[in-house]
Symmetry: C2
Subunit: 580 residues, 2 copies
């Protein structure tokens, strides 16, 4: 269990604050994570890692010379938002682009990909190496589908090594990618873990049993058996990995291996050393030469009991990377440069909060409607939060209502703050979107942040938005959602609602309708689309939707989107100042 916390909701944020306080000579806090205390040298690729919290020292503990330039830190076991990742990357970037590298989990991929697109759109080159070392999570031919676990360290080290010797982004990507291809991990679990304030474990393993291949968030393993001896476990892990030797290695490679015996949290150092004694003997008997083994906690899963073994088949260049110096809060090795350690020589990162861009009076006037719309959406969600949760509990984990509520509340606060600082309509939307994605969590939070930012980019802070601008904004939002959510029309998602809305808005604008009128008709179309999707919403806006579990498995995201579009229509309708 988790013993020490305050408000469970604040746990991850307080963890970052405490981590930064404890490591102020190593890192600086930025919105959404941490970066090295020292500015990335001009011309050096920045390596940005990240993922959910609860895996310390992954990820914040691995920021520093020889490892990452920055880490985006999400909530417990939840991906950081695209906005968080983007801002960490912006703070870390040194002019030669950014390499993203992180473990392969759907939420992380979604958010890192969004952040990458945004960086590229701003002219900052960005490439990604997703770590896929966990052999239990997919077969060798589908190794790209594997999850990333403690092999993260091998890939991060290779990326940092290439970046720090001055490689360009493509070369950094190439070495990190090769490190991933040369790395395989195999893990087991003996217990589940319980998050702060939770009354029950997130997942469990029966006492005296071992879940072979269980993931670090409790993802199902490949088998279960009685807990073996330490030596028996070493045999299992070594044998599994020897057979998982990457097919792409030529036969001469890999006589020398980096080794990580990683504890997941509740298995203590003494146990790891007893087990490592056998691992070392067994690998040596296989003819392998072990280089700089790591035995300890590198990628944990809170207080989960379990271990994983990682083999990193080395070639000459990867061995140099593996042996190179590093100096981070949780991983230090060899001798780094004095300017990386000596506080007086460090070039401190300047963390600048985003300034509010200048705006026109017309845009600020439209901003009032934007603000009212966001408030209306928040009120709508507050009213329907239980209903949305109930709807989500049919197919999902029932947190859609709560997540939307958290996102909308944060969005409203951010929008109010921006408006108070004389932001234009576009900036208000953008700040609201960022806050929404930041606080809502989950896929829908990320998609809402994306959608609002897409609209914001079209709206801007100069002119009052026309019907045409709204149409192109919604069209852009649709494209972003479809791309990052990997959803197509007919999948019964937000796309099914937004697609006819975008078409209708475009047609309305072409026919010269005002923004208010075109949005009003769009709201009806959205209701119909959501109805078609969920078969649940006969009359949006007139009565609270009658949501019944019995009618299949509607996407709650589509429903809440339609409700939101209707709420905006109501605001527009009541406004006298709608442009045109």
């Amino acid at each position: 269990m988790t013993y020490l916390y305050n408000d469970p909701v604040q746990f991850a944020d307080e963890c970052i604050d405490g981590f930064v306080a404890a490591n102020s000579t190593f890192v600086r806090k930025v919105h959404g994570g941490v970066v090295r205390a020292s500015r990335t040298p001009t011309g050096q690729v920045a390596v940005v890692i990240g993922g959910g919290s609860g895996h310390y020292p992954a990820f914040a503990g691995l920021v520093g010379p020889g490892l990452a330039h920055g880490a985006a830190m999400g909530n417990l076991f939840a991906s950081p938002s695209a906005q968080q990742i983007y801002r960490v990357a912006k703070a870390a970037a040194g002019g030669a682009g950014v390499l993203f590298t992180y473990g392969n989990y759907a939420g992380d991929v979604l958010n890192f990909d969004q952040a990458q697109a945004r960086l590229i759109a701003e002219g900052i080159p960005c490439r990604t190496v997703v770590v896929t070392d966990d052999i239990s999570s997919a077969s060798e031919p589908e190794s790209h589908k594997r999850r990333g676990v403690a092999g993260d360290l091998a890939v991060f080290r290779a990326a940092a090594y290439a970046a720090e010797r001055g490689d360009d982004l493509n070369a950094v990507w190439t070495l990190a990618n090769r490190a991933n291809e040369h790395t395989r991990s195999f893990g087991v679990a003996f217990s589940g873990c319980t998050l702060p304030g939770a009354s029950a474990p997130l997942f469990t393993v029966p006492e005296g049993r071992m879940a072979v291949g269980m993931g670090i968030h409790g993802e199902p393993g490949i088998s279960e058996q009685d807990l073996p001896t330490a030596h028996g476990l070493a045999e299992l892990l070594v044998e599994g990995l020897v057979h998982a030797r990457p097919a792409t290695l030529d036969s001469s490679a890999g006589a020398r291996v980096g080794v990580i015996l990683n504890g997941l949290g509740a298995v203590k150092y003494e146990e790891l050393f007893v087990t490592y004694g056998s691992v070392s003997t067994l690998l040596t008997a296989q003819g392998m030469e072990i280089v700089d083994p790591e035995v300890g906690e590198l990628v944990t899963s809170f207080q989960m009991a379990g271990v994983s073994l990682t083999l990193f088949w080395l070639d000459a260049e990867l061995e140099e990377a593996w042996k190179s110096p590093a100096y981070t809060p949780a991983y230090r090795k060899g001798l780094v440069n004095r300017q990386d350690v000596d506080r007086d020589l460090i070039t401190i990162v300047d963390v600048v909060e985003d300034a509010i861009l200048p705006s026109s009076a017309a845009s600020r006037a439209s901003g009032v409607i934007v603000l009212d719309s966001i408030r209306a959406i928040k009120n709508m969600i507050d009213t329907n939060v239980e209903e949305l949760g109930r709807l989500d509990s049919v197919a999902g984990d029932g947190d859609h209502g709560i997540g939307m509520q958290r996102g909308a509340s944060a969005a409203l606060l951010a929008a109010e703050d921006a408006a108070a600082h004389e932001a234009g309509a576009g900036s208000i939307l953008s700040k609201a979107g960022d806050a929404w994605a930041d606080r809502a969590g989950g896929t829908s939070g990320a998609l809402w942040g994306l959608a609002l930012n897409a609209v914001a980019a079209e709206v801007g802070d100069v002119a009052a938005p026309t019907a045409t601008v709204l149409a192109s904004g919604v069209t852009a939002a649709l494209a972003a959602i479809a791309r990052f959510g990997k959803a197509q029309l007919g999948d019964k998602t937000m796309v099914d609602v937004l697609s006819p809305v975008a078409i209708a808005l475009t047609e309305s604008a072409e026919h010269g309708l005002t923004a208010r009128d075109s949005w009003k008709s769009a709201a009806l179309i959205a209701a119909e689309a959501a109805d078609a999707t969920s078969q649940l919403l006969p009359k949006i806006g007139r009565a609270r939707p009658h949501m019944e579990k019995s009618l299949g498995s509607p996407d709650p995201g589509a429903v809440s989107l339609a409700l939101a579009i209707d709420a905006i229509a109501a605001v527009m309708n009541s406004q006298q100042k709608v442009s045109q």
Copy 2:
């Protein structure tokens, strides 16, 4: 619980082996522990630490530049033997003497003191700083009685800093001692811990409760309360320590403090960081300036759930020590010298096993009797193991029989090995004593090792031992036991048996009796003394002692010693070759 182990009895040894395999570039294994891989420079004081296993990274993980030169590693939660400590110190010593520093626990004090006496007897200067930082274990006026916990790190760092800058032994002692005076810790526990293979926890804390001041081996705390929030705990710990500010500090000292927030095992990093956030704020509000805080696992108690907070009130010199570089398996900081890190530059320690000294034929002939005597003792213990355990269960933990059996069996193997390598009587006794102390564990194991070595020193490897030699050997053994066991005549311990035996042997020798005859009468005296002590042994040697719980609380060590003396008398009696 402990998940990974093989034979629980081998756990600590296998842990050392695995640790050394994982850290072969940092440390070398010696008998009883580890030393730095690099030889201690000539003229540098060697800092030797140690204690029971189960506290990683204490103690082996703290061996390296900037910290210890060597660590003696005992069994789980059990002191290393004097022999282990002695040998680690011998391997670590660099010609300028040895500073012992370790946490204040009775078993550790007993064994380190013995090792210190032996080093000094060999001409190696040795001094000791016992760490006493745990404010819950005694009041400030009796602070010398306090236990040592995570404050170990502060004291070890100061000792290493002084040693490495070239201070002589007294100066190293002075700075380490001052560090101890400037260091206070306060801890809490939320759960017990379960050792490898144990069916029940060694100690427990009720669920949802917190044992304030509980020690790292489950020593009772000062109170119990409901588990607070992380912030509430931070308040408790900070307030406790602020009030425990050392009285000896002058008022100007200590505006700057080193801080250690130490996890005991089951409390994970994220929880520690959340708690540290509050600790940092609260200390700052007290006007303290935090210098290089450490948040993590520094002195653990296996998988016990708990934390401790340590304050190290700094003066200028202690701050330099605290901030100085270090490079060990588990503690690395700043930039050490290249020759401390670069494998090619390291001057490797030569680990030499003790050679068998040359011996005379006469001494080897006596060695046969020594060997037979040790075998007789072993057989006597095997026969009485349950009885001795039962006797111990009255006043102790019932493991006296098992401990004696382990010690005697190991002693016999070592003696046989020595005899097979042509050792003389003295060396056979010495090897037997070392093995006994090594394997028996507990206080009586240490005392037996001490006694056998004291006799061995008198017997030597040249002449056959006379009655006079035996008398002076036993007298020396008595003195050693009394001194290190801190027992006096009348305390009903081994001293009560050995004291009249030593007198009788001395008188017999003065009256010209043979060794055999003088020992024979000594055995009767021993039986009487043990009888007087335990009131349980009417006729040793003729019938198995009739041991009854009902007659009070005899010392099982006194009983087994008398039985052993009787067993030796029987061997001597049956020998034709007894010298004079």
